[in-house]
Symmetry: C2
Subunit: 259 residues, 2 copies
């Protein structure tokens, strides 16, 4: 720890790429969108869609632009940043920092794909290039956690769905049984979903017609009551007051901001 000379915020030049883990439930299987690398380095392996960052675009703009080459981006119902990786040897050759995103496509959508691109079951991933498999697993993990404490389910389903369909999506994404009755009660209580009033005709073999639901909002919201260590229920004013009305700065720097 030494006294520092105020450094400029300008970093060293390096390459930057953005990657996307695009997930979709396809016929009951959580699947990831991958493309096949025909050329070195790591030719013959599967990779995440993405590519270099252009100087005039933000990270989010960049991944949207590059995803547009693989899949109809209008199908994308959610896109959030996952993680950035900067290990010097993560790709051979030049130093490349990567920022990974998680994208979701609702079940049922079937966007056309380029010839080198395909969906892969998430529990039987092929040999993947660089550190991309690690990012895929991070994306799956992120999806699983957020299904619990956010309304992220909206991104797995189209606007209209029955409770058994939705339970199936949750089942596929989480990897364990999900009871449609419980799911309905939970999401209704949280105010995440609401019935549209419509019902859907039963399939052959009969059955009671299923009510159609929709998510009330289709942008990410965290379930606010979803915190252990809640604020106390009784007094709505349990905010912590600033303990001492002194200066917010405990130490005034020598070469400091004293006007």
């Amino acid at each position: 720890m030494t006294v520092v000379t105020p450094t400029s915020p300008v970093g060293q030049a390096c390459d930057h790429e953005v990657l996307a883990v695009v997930l979709q439930i396809r016929s009951g299987v959580l699947s990831a969108l991958l493309w096949w690398r025909a050329f070195a380095p790591d030719a013959g392996r599967w990779a995440l869609p993405g590519g270099g960052l252009r100087p005039d675009e933000s990270l989010r703009d960049s991944i949207r632009r590059q995803l547009a080459e693989k899949v109809d981006v209008r199908e994308l119902t959610h896109l959030e940043q996952l993680d950035s990786r900067g290990e010097p040897d993560r790709v051979p050759g030049r130093r490349v920092v990567a920022t990974g995103y998680l994208g979701l496509v609702p079940a049922g959508a079937d966007p056309g794909l380029p010839g080198d691109t395909a969906w892969h079951s998430s529990d039987r991933l092929p040999r993947m290039a660089f550190d991309h498999e690690d990012l895929v697993r991070a994306g799956i993990q992120r999806l699983r956690s957020k299904l619990s404490y956010t309304n992220l389910g909206f991104a797995l389903a189209q606007p209209g769905f029955t409770m058994s369909e939705l339970a199936g999506y949750y089942r596929s994404a989480l990897g364990h049984e999900v009871d449609a009755t419980n799911l309905q009660r939970i999401l209704l209580r949280r105010g995440q979903i609401e019935p549209t009033g419509d019902t859907v005709r039963p399939g052959r073999g009969g059955g009671r017609p299923a009510a159609v639901y929709r998510f009330r909002t289709r942008v990410l919201e965290v379930t606010d009551e979803f915190a252990v260590l809640h604020p106390p229920r009784r007094s709505p004013e349990h905010r912590i007051p600033p303990p001492v009305p002194s200066l917010s700065t405990e130490r005034v720097p020598d070469a400091g901001p004293g006007h």
Copy 2:
């Protein structure tokens, strides 16, 4: 959506910097470590510690190295990636992508600081440079959420603490009342803390001597039962079997991996 020519994963050259939101509970106030910018751009504003990424270091190595200039890094009990920002205009002049980290220092530690560096109360932040204030708020939010569903409390306290002290840290970080009794029961049940057997002498004025506790592990762990939409309790084997033992790849690319 067009057929894509397999692109090299090499992105365009740009600058990359790493920043850290370092938080600590200082005399009951959640505070952030900032340094004062004496030079342009944004001179006279407070900024996050950090700086340019060197070509031979990972993102995490880089932020540790640069933090070492501001604070004794041995005091850092936690360090995790927060977010990356790449808006072309986030800093004037050259294009700089920033990766933000969240660092935590346990209450009570008082590392020496360079002259231009100081702790600031998190609820009265000064005018900050660039988009740094936004990162600080993201860091605080991350801390608050993770206090609920992980053992991140270990990073706020030293290895030995009493329950009232720990409740005070949670109170300061969360911004609302936290009952020491409930906190004790919750953390004990989760297996996050354990009593050391020691007690601490009461202060002047008396009081029952407080038992000393410690976190069982001081690395981040998520509370595993902490998922709504639990797997069913009854049958431990509720894994979803692969629905159909077909090929994992639904579409075989034309220029594809067919050996």
